[in-house]
């Protein structure tokens, strides 16, 4: 699970600091509001903590994630309310005593007693929903279920908290009404339109304790209609190849697409599909095409799969934007798989394009290094990428290779890649990730040096080969090996 926070010291620190219980006294939550935006493959959760310091100089705030929550969480970031800057976040890993995963947030300014601050924690959960019913016929609607905990857990005391769950459509089939809930006198749950609100709950003691969870925590389940296909990319392999001779950056994605919606019950009927399209009532779990925003200024876009070119797609390109300006223009690709993707079906394909290297690269004359920024992935809204591998192939003879990823990878390696007209091969940086979401659209910066002689390697090799060939032909033509002269 890639996260943007750093975790290098966590092991050391956790050995020294049994922090959870110690920290419990330094803060109090005056209010917690959690908003869950239900979706398909991704669920966005925003939790706002209004915190009040109980001690002077309190600057490290701890949040706790339950085991299930942690397993689904693919992205976690903390901000002060109203600000865009991310706060430093540290992973303390699994806390055995309480059974929680702890993270600490360092506040920009230490708080004194009774000073308050508003923290916003944004998380993205993947694979948190599942289709229910698990099978749907071609005409059937699509519904998903989402499981969650009723109370937001915190190592601190909480004065008031509530959880809002927003469904994408007002059609919510069912939601849990928990019984025997303490901390409240009113109705536990209210529904207004597409929003279901649990709470408010008052005066909750420090709850990030196994004991509290066992006794007080309740599970809630939302069953809601979802009108878009639930898509997963089970495997994404991106290869970016930098060519200095061609002034070209080639990006190629090998994608395994999977429709994670309800499995198709019975069989696919083209007749029904065509009549649905004819009457404009497409089934929600069928994916006929995918709209992709590719970078501006690309050319030679190709889209093929294992059996050849796929001709069913439309592309509108835009010229590249000047460097430094905000990239708000995109080339637009309407990508149609060979067949409509029904629930449970797979489709694998390759999509690639060329773009001018100058759009992505720069030269630092101070260090004599080239800098190239390669986007980790093409963001497809509300699609989760289970496994991703990003490989960046540098020019032949590149040295002093360094790279800076926006968030750490699960594994990183540098290997050698040999392709057309290479003699010694090119350095190839490979980074592996899991569970990427639409929040993970970062750029990997690679810096490297290419000596002048490395540029010349290719023409010299080709010239040598040709001269050798001609010399051989010259010699063969002129050496007479016949026994007898004619």
């Amino acid at each position: 699970m890639p996260r943007h926070w750093r975790a290098p010291l966590s092991l050391l620190l956790s050995a020294f600091l049994p922090l959870c219980t110690l920290a419990a006294n330094s803060f109090e939550n005056t209010a917690i509001v959690r908003t869950v935006e239900l979706g398909g493959a991704l669920v966005h959760v925003t939790t706002t903590y209004a915190v009040k310091a109980l001690e002077d100089g309190s600057s490290v705030y701890t949040i706790a994630l339950g085991e299930r929550e942690h397993a689904h969480t693919a992205w976690l970031e903390a901000k002060l309310k109203g600000q865009t800057e991310r706060l430093p976040l540290e992973d303390f890993g699994y806390h055995r005593d309480s059974g929680f995963y702890l993270y600490t947030i360092e506040l920009p300014k230490a708080l004194n007693v009774n000073q308050t601050s508003n923290l916003v924690i944004e998380t993205v959960q993947t694979h948190a929903t599942y289709p229910w019913p698990e099978e749907a016929a071609q005409k059937d609607p699509q519904s998903l279920k989402y499981h969650s905990e009723l109370l937001v857990l915190s190592p601190y005391k909480t004065a008031v908290q509530r959880t809002k769950i927003r469904s994408p459509s007002p059609q919510v089939h069912s939601y849990t009404t928990p019984e025997d809930v303490e901390f409240t006198t009113d109705a536990v749950v209210t529904k207004a339109g597409a929003t279901i609100t649990y709470g408010p709950f008052y005066d909750i003691p420090p709850s990030a304790i196994q004991d509290f969870v066992d006794k007080k925590q309740k599970e809630i389940v939302i069953h809601y209609a979802f009108d878009y296909p639930v898509l997963e990319i089970t495997e994404l392999r991106r290869t970016a190849e930098i060519s200095h001779w061609g002034a070209n950056l080639n990006i190629q994605d090998n994608i395994n697409l999977h429709n994670a919606g309800p499995r198709l019950k019975g069989h696919f009927s083209r007749l029904e599909h065509q009549s649905q399209a004819y009457f404009g009532k497409a089934a929600p779990h069928v994916l006929p095409s995918l709209q992709l925003h590719l970078p501006a200024g690309i050319h030679d876009v190709y889209y093929y799969d294992l059996v050849g070119n796929v001709s069913t797609s439309h592309l509108r390109t835009t010229p590249s934007t000047p460097k430094g300006t905000e990239a708000n223009r995109f080339s637009f690709l309407e990508l149609r798989p060979r067949y409509p993707l029904l629930g449970g079906w797979n489709y694998s394909f390759t999509l690639g394009w060329d773009s001018s290297l100058s759009d992505y690269a720069g030269f630092d004359s101070k260090t004599g290094k080239y800098v190239v920024g390669v986007p980790i992935m093409t963001v497809i809204p509300s699609v989760v990428v289970d496994d991703a591998e990003v490989a960046i192939i540098l020019p032949e003879g590149a040295t002093d290779v360094d790279y800076y990823a926006p968030y750490p990878a699960l594994s990183e390696s540098i290997s050698t890649h040999i392709t057309y007209l290479d003699t010694i091969g090119r350095p190839k940086v490979t980074l592996k990730y899991q569970q990427l979401t639409d929040k993970h659209g970062g750029v990997i910066y690679v810096t490297y040096k290419v000596p002048f002689t490395a540029h010349l390697r290719k023409p010299v090799a080709v010239a040598t080969a040709f001269i050798g060939f001609f010399a051989l032909a010259f010699a063969v033509k002129r050496v007479d090996i016949r026994l007898r002269r004619k």
């Binding site: 069913t312 060979r338 067949y339």
Partner: protein
């Protein structure tokens, strides 16, 4: 010595030789370029894709070779083909094509050129067509001269008859076989001319390559002995012939037996006996020559008389005895069908069902060869003029290939090279005669050598390279044979010149100009014709169909790949797919699923089983499907968009082939209406309507038209409004234009009922429920 136009005379012979050699190289390079480029229409118009059916298997085999190495390929047992029998691939194919691609692939990868194996396969045929052009040049050069060679190379480079089998993507054995054929013939002629064992061995090596590459090698196996026999009968036996033939036969036969698929055939089957017989005859003749050199002629005659009788009787007895004992296999069906075009239809419907095994229609000769077909006889006649050994070869080749091309469409391929060669000889003789500046004189004057020492300055040469040698020869030919030459006679007749007893030849520039421009015009139209035919007729991959959008832009109909890819991605890896054998290789290649039958039609019974399943009613077909573990049935249906190569049109062949094995159960007449029409509408016969193929094709088809009359656009017939129902199969997938329809075979009913009853129960339950209700209502 009068000249029609002046030639530069101050050029040194070395300059002339070098210039003409350079021009020849450039011309050959350009011809190669043209040959390759004209085959790329398919790639430019569509994409780099493997075409048609057989190439998909070759491609798949090549991938195995490239990925797993040669030994894995050699020992490859393909479990997925001919389910459940499997296929020993290494022992049942001609591996030459795959080995060639594999070598190219490995060499390129060793040079750090990681070319995709698919692109190598797609571009192999165009690449080898350039080599074919070169070997045809070498062959024709031996026959006449370099300029004729260049013309022949240009002809073969763009002749549609050869392009039809060698466009980019047509990755079939023929792609390399024609090059091998021409090069084997070239080295044979060369061996015969020089009497060199080296060239004889080279012939044998290329013969071996050919054996490894194409089943059509039998053509060479019989052409060379036929040529040798003719030469012996013409009294042209020589030690050169002996050396050439013996070295070819001994090495070539031993080498060819190394190919597992051929094995001991060269000594055991009738097709190869001619080569063996001529080999024996040559030994006898050579021995007789030796004896004749040592005894007097009267003794020799009696020896000869006696020995001829003894050897003849012994030979016939041996052949009959061996055939009787089964040591020599009798002729195969394909062989008989070469002599009797109706044979296959009667006895082996599988061979007859392939369109390329049909007799050739006359227009296709013109379409494939254009003006070459007119020049071809002229060239053959010109061969009679000199009648050296190699000319005899071309004459035999021409006669044999013409016959075969008339019998089978696909053998047009073997005719094309000889047509190109002969036409080039004729055309180049024409040009020689009319470009040569020498004018006839009334008085006999020796031909001045300086006149022929001209370089390629003449403006009208097509090939751009006229060597001094050629000019010399032409000049000599015109001067020597001016009174009797057939060529000049024909040429003079074309040119409208009347024969005069005194001075024969061409006078003035105007006649020359007229003929040469005319000839160039023919060449130009030939090029236009070839380009047109290639682009319109021979460059469709047939996996992808092209149509036009209303705005004129190209619209690709890609149903085959859509369905195959669906199978590949969304069915279990071991799901068995049943389809008619045409699509077996494509399913294996694109969908990567086991198939029951495929284009390697080695097991007639298995194919007939599929035919029977397709042409039987559901309840008869179902046990067959279950016994063969069939999970999916794939059919091709063109009724919606008018794709005429669909399974309903092929259906009668399935019936016929099934009838061949089960004459009691399947009878072809049952599929026709009482009037004898083949119909699919309301008037269709009940057998037809109940057949699995009919049901699968038209299942829910009428519903698509939403109440209005459904029309099958291929047959132009109206489809019944209530379509067929299926009890034993489920529709699993239908492609966008309904071309490919895939059905899943249902498993047995869990309660042990047969599926028809189960279905009736499932549907009937509702009716039963409503009936008692109605009764109760009536009571109340």
């Amino acid at each position: 010595m009068p000249l029609a136009y002046s030639l530069p005379s101050d050029l040194s012979p070395a300059t002339v030789t070098n210039t003409s050699s350079l021009l020849r190289i450039i011309a050959l390079a350009l011809i190669s370029g043209a040959a390759i480029a004209s085959r790329l229409f398919a790639v430019v118009n569509f994409e780099s894709i493997i075409h048609e059916f057989d190439p998909w298997f070759n491609y798949r085999a090549t991938k195995v070779l490239a990925e797993k190495g040669f030994y894995a390929f050699w020992n490859w047992f393909d479990h997925t083909a001919w389910y459940p029998l499997g296929r020993v691939v290494g022992g049942t194919i001609y591996p030459g094509l795959m080995a060639t691609s594999g070598v190219i692939y490995n060499v390129l990868h060793a040079l750090n050129l990681p070319v995709d194996i698919r692109n190598i396969c797609v571009l192999l045929a165009p690449g080898f067509s350039a080599l074919t052009a070169w070997s045809t040049y070498m062959f024709t050069k031996e026959l006449k001269d370099e300029s004729a060679g260049l013309l022949a190379a240009a002809f073969i480079g763009i002749a549609p008859g050869y392009i039809s089998r060698s466009v980019a993507g047509s990755y079939d054995n023929e792609a390399i076989a024609i090059f091998l054929l021409m090069f084997t013939f070239y080295s044979w002629i060369k061996a015969l001319k020089t009497g060199s064992a080296f060239f004889g061995t080279l012939t044998a090596l290329f013969y071996f390559y050919m054996v490894a590459a194409w089943g059509g090698y039998a053509f060479i196996t019989n052409m060379i002995p036929l040529h040798a026999l003719t030469l012996i009968l013409m009294g042209r036996f020589s030690s050169r012939l002996y050396v050439a033939y013996s070295s070819w036969y001994a090495i070539g036969t031993l080498a060819s037996m190394q190919v597992p698929f051929v094995g001991f055939q060269p000594v055991r089957t009738s097709e190869h006996m001619a080569a063996l017989g001529v080999f024996g005859l040559l030994q006898i003749v050579a021995f007789a020559e030796l004896v004749r050199a040592h005894v007097s002629s009267r003794q020799f005659q009696s020896i000869l008389f006696g020995s001829v009788i003894v050897i003849g009787v012994l030979g016939v007895l041996a052949f009959a005895g061996l055939t009787y004992k089964g040591w020599i296999a009798p002729w195969t069906g394909r062989f008989y069908s070469l002599w009797d075009t109706g044979y296959a239809k009667k006895y082996i419907p599988i061979i007859a069902s392939v369109s390329e095994h049909q007799p050739t229609a006359w227009p296709s000769f013109f379409m494939d060869l254009q003006f070459l077909i007119f020049l071809f006889p002229a060239g053959v006649i010109l061969c009679f003029r000199e009648l050296r050994d190699e000319h005899v070869f071309v004459i035999i080749y021409a006669v044999v290939a013409s016959y075969f091309a008339g019998v089978m469409v696909r053998l047009m391929l073997t005719l094309t090279p000889v047509v190109c060669v002969a036409a080039a000889v004729a055309f180049s003789s024409l040009l020689d005669t009319y470009i040569d500046p020498v004018e006839p004189e009334v008085s006999e004057v020796a031909v001045p050598v300086t006149g022929g020492d001209s370089s390629a300055a003449s403006p009208a040469t097509v090939d751009g390279a006229v060597s001094s040698k050629k000019a010399k020869k032409a000049a000599a030919a015109v001067a020597d044979a001016s009174s009797t030459g057939i060529a000049s006679g024909i040429v003079a007749a074309i040119g409208g010149q009347s024969k005069s007893p005194k001075a024969r030849g061409i006078f003035g520039l105007d006649t020359r100009f007229l003929i040469v421009v005319n000839a160039l015009g023919m060449l130009l139209f030939f090029v236009l014709h070839c380009t047109y035919v290639t682009s319109s007729a021979y460059s469709s991959p047939s996996v992808v169909l092209a149509s036009q959008n209303p705005d004129g832009s190209q619209h690709i109909i890609d149903d085959f790949r859509e369905a195959y890819y669906w199978l590949r991605q969304n069915t279990p890896q071991d799901a068995v797919v049943m389809s008619w054998w045409d699509y077996g290789y494509q399913i294996a290649g694109m969908a990567d699923r086991p198939t029951l039958v495929d284009n390697n039609t080695w097991n007639n019974t298995h194919i007939a089983t599929v035919g029977k399943a397709m042409s039987s009613p559901e309840e008869v077909a179902y046990p067959i499907l279950r016994k063969h573990d069939v999970d999916y049935v794939l059919i091709i249906f063109g009724g919606l968009i008018g794709y005429s190569g669909d399974d309903i049109n092929k259906f009668l062949w399935m019936v016929r082939i099934a009838q061949g094995v089960w004459p009691d159960e399947i009878q072809e007449p049952n599929y026709f209406t009482p009037k004898g029409e083949y119909r699919i509408d309301d008037a269709a016969s009940p057998t037809m309507k109940n057949s699995l193929m009919y049901k699968m094709s038209y299942y829910r088809f009428a519903e698509l038209f939403g109440g209005s009359q459904a029309v099958d656009r291929v047959r132009g017939q109206q489809v019944p409004k209530t379509g067929p129902t299926l009890d034993y199969l489920d529709e699993a997938f239908t492609s966008e234009n309904w071309i490919v329809r895939i059905y899943q075979v249902k498993k047995e009913d869990l309660l042990g009922r047969d599926l028809k009853t189960a279905n009736a129960f499932a549907n009937g339950k509702k009716r039963k429920k409503s009936k008692p209700l109605a009764r109760r209502k009536a009571l109340a």
